[in-house]
Symmetry: D5
């Protein structure tokens, strides 16, 4: 199960300034609960579970009190590896977990998933309102 408790933070070193942190993980993988758009029941039975999904997760946020610690973020994203989860849920779940841990002024999570059945999917979710510039 995605393990929000793995996420660690550290105090924002420049709390008085509105600045932006952008993170990109090219190696996100999870399982699709139903085998997804490309698999049939026979092959799933062989693997005793769903078919693997692959994608890129992009996170951008404006820190307020805390920043996310990168090693803990890596471990958190690894924790999706063997769980079945739909694209829309995965992206919104990462946004919920990160926003709860970091309490940012603004945050955006993008899941950019590999082609399945000839269709590429991107999910974009945001938390809070952006100000300044």
């Amino acid at each position: 199960m995605p393990a929000a408790e793995l996420l660690e933070t550290f105090p924002n070193p420049y709390p008085g300034r509105e600045y932006e942190v952008r993170l990109e993980c090219n190696e996100f993988t999870s399982m699709c609960p139903l085998g997804g758009i490309e698999s049939d029941a026979a092959e799933l039975a062989l693997l005793k579970g769903g078919a693997p999904d692959f994608g890129v997760i992009r996170i951008a946020y404006v820190p307020d009190v805390d920043c996310v610690e990168l090693k803990s973020l890596k471990l958190y994203l690894w924790s999706f590896r063997n769980d079945g989860i739909f694209y829309e849920r995965a992206v919104n779940r990462i946004l919920d977990d990160l926003a709860a841990a970091v309490k940012p002024r603004w945050m955006e999570v993008v899941g950019d998933f590999n082609v399945r059945g000839g269709i590429k999917s991107v999910i974009v979710a945001r938390h809070g309102a952006r100000t300044g510039s």
Copy 2:
């Protein structure tokens, strides 16, 4: 004939948040009813129909109550394969069918078609108004 009844949906898992789904299908193909910009009558007679068109279909939407199920979208887009339809109609038709099925807050459909007669065509149509950000 494009088969809107193939489209299936599932309930939006995060109805309280305004987020965006972007889908891209690189393998759209249909037929041009009149043979199009590059074919003459003699060759169409040989094939008993129009000339094939190829393109990319890009769909972006902000879900409200439902999301489109990807496997059904794949089958729906395949259903254009052997029908004759002009570019402008195809893109507006896909927008009409998808918006009727998904009832999104906002939706955009882009048809990016291959060069014909040295001319590349892109059609962009939108449904609803975009808010937030």
Copy 3:
């Protein structure tokens, strides 16, 4: 001479929706009346005319009542092949001819011409005001 009478149109199949059509022709060629930035009089005498220009023409418009028929657009753009015309005139002329034929809500014509004398030129002209989005 550029032949506006070659342009044909067909009725906009979705007149109630504000959508956009984008066309790109990579094979535009015309003649520069004075030989242009790279040629001298001696070589022009050999060819009995100006030097050839090459470029890309990009057209974007929001249809109102009519759309431009693509085969007629191809023939219209071919009709510049052996006429001498400056870049600024060519782009504004194409915009005038197309806007008169199609009567769009909004239209933009871009001429993106090849390097001459180490200088690349792009001309951008617009007709009408863009609304919606």
Copy 4:
């Protein structure tokens, strides 16, 4: 069915010189007889047939007596559109049909097919031996 009788040729205009012709068609599509790596039986039943395949066909040859006429090649490649055929067969079949029609000194056909189930396939087949250079 792939229709070899559509292929037309014209006499090689420079029979005394060993030169090379390379052709590339980006818009090849056929059907996979069994639905292929990404489809299950349920969705194939809906479409009454196999799943579509897409790819690029590249042809290179050294003409001997004849050259292939391009319009006929286009029609020949279109004739695969609604037939079920495996990748290996399609490429070897195109090579057989073209080599029989053109009787080249040397010929190579490459089928570069789109990703299916996360796997991209390329098939390369050759006829005759290359000499000179």
Copy 5:
């Protein structure tokens, strides 16, 4: 454990011709037994195993009697997902398993793995000798 028994084959449809099949899987993932170049013991304890590796597997072969069936190859490559294996072993193992199943005239397997500790690794192994061309 990598499951060679998942690999299925079908008879080479053109046994009399020396042609080439090239396959590429962009979504290979396995685990590094020791956590690899970038992980320490503390984080591995959290995950109860090694750190994930990601890469691209490229396979090229000249079929003799059999060809590899693509759906079975996909399942075979998926079977590395949760096993710990070093790069050199993974690539040579895939070559051994595939060569045993397909008995090709010639085969090459390339593992192109993602950057770890600032170092990118590629392993190339071959079976049999290439002839003809």
Copy 6:
């Protein structure tokens, strides 16, 4: 008509060394005598001739006694602008004219023509044998 008499040469300044000259013209255009793969008779009647072809001409040679003068080469290539000529003829004709003018140790001419009817064509012809290196 292609005008070989436009080609001028100058004495090879380093006749004792085997070196290579490579030239590329991105702006080659000619007419297809029959309207080519994409046009029908009706539209050709409008233009009183064939349809335009566009391509890139690449020339490589090892000079012996003479080199080709670039301004004369530009004028020579412009002289194809309004003549109808097939791809295979154009490339072999340019090779014949240039080899006659320059008398090189070795020469190659490549014509890389734009997509027509979804098919891209490249023609490669060579004169003499390459040595050294």
Copy 7:
């Protein structure tokens, strides 16, 4: 010395329309008065002057009464070749000279200079206010 008197203009052929002209010269070179970030005094003494700078100059403007003639612009930009001038001065000087000659509604000049000492510099200066669109 940069020679503003080389700049010539011609009357804007479409004075009633707000359109845009964009020009790019990839071959700008000047000298750095002090040898710049990468040279020491010893090597400058050898060359009796500063070190060469290279860059791209991009000009965009909305014509009012006049347009700049391209051949004169080429000669004007060449006139910087052997003068020492800092990046900030060069870009603002070109803007001053061109704006004085053309009297545009709006103008922007960008100098995009090559890496020196591992640092790339871009200078962007504007004249007048942009309206419409």
Copy 8:
């Protein structure tokens, strides 16, 4: 230690105009104090310090009274080479030091750091408000 006293300035040569200077240094390197996301204690002990970080620093500013001298900026950025500093601190520190030295109307510093543990980081910080355009 980052050495702000290395930064030198020169008077803005065009103080009356709001223009922009953009600088990019591809060769920024510093040390991560704790070894960072990819190193364990054992390897750090070998090197007697942290693990190296690499990245690109992009600086954009609108000068007011002074401009930064490029050679001094190069030396200032080199001065981070052997100090341990976190990404967020490095970018905000460079912004503080540069803004104090140059006193710009507006300034932005972007640190675009190499992948560590499969995660790429970008930090964007700004000083002052942008006006005009």
Copy 9:
């Protein structure tokens, strides 16, 4: 000083097969003993040493008895960080150290260094003779 003793090896897991390992490190940095092509004495005095060099190191080898362990290679390459060494020496030194540690059948080391003074340098050195394929 480059520390060859940091290099560790492990037994080649497939000693009976001639296969190839290719490694690429994008983050190599060292110091130039004399300040190099771009620095003068004054700035070097400020830094009490040479100017930094940056580059990519590519290593390819055919293992015989041993393979290089990647973490130890990373530490070995880091050990050049604060030593002054010329390009030619660095590449040949890495080849000597690695070949002594690994005793490969064949090895190649490429140093691809960043532009200095407008000149990019690549050094390629090889050990042993390549066989098979």
Copy 10:
């Protein structure tokens, strides 16, 4: 005048090994004696000389006793800035000067010059014979 006496060398640090040095200078510029393919007499009179040429010079060599010192190479290439020289002469002259200074086992010089009159030119010259590998 190209100043061969500027070239300095240093002893090959690894004389017993056959390795390769590749250098690339992106900022070569010289003058064309006659104004070249793009200029007429009137504009040359204005500039009191030829028109500028720009290109990339690539040098590869296998050192024997000496290597070329990079700073001296930079100054040598700068010395062509204000001299008129044809492409073929420039490349062969650089090869002669460098081979005389360095006495390599093998050397290649490539001049890759910018488009003039729509034609790009590349000149490749070699000295000595390549062995080993």
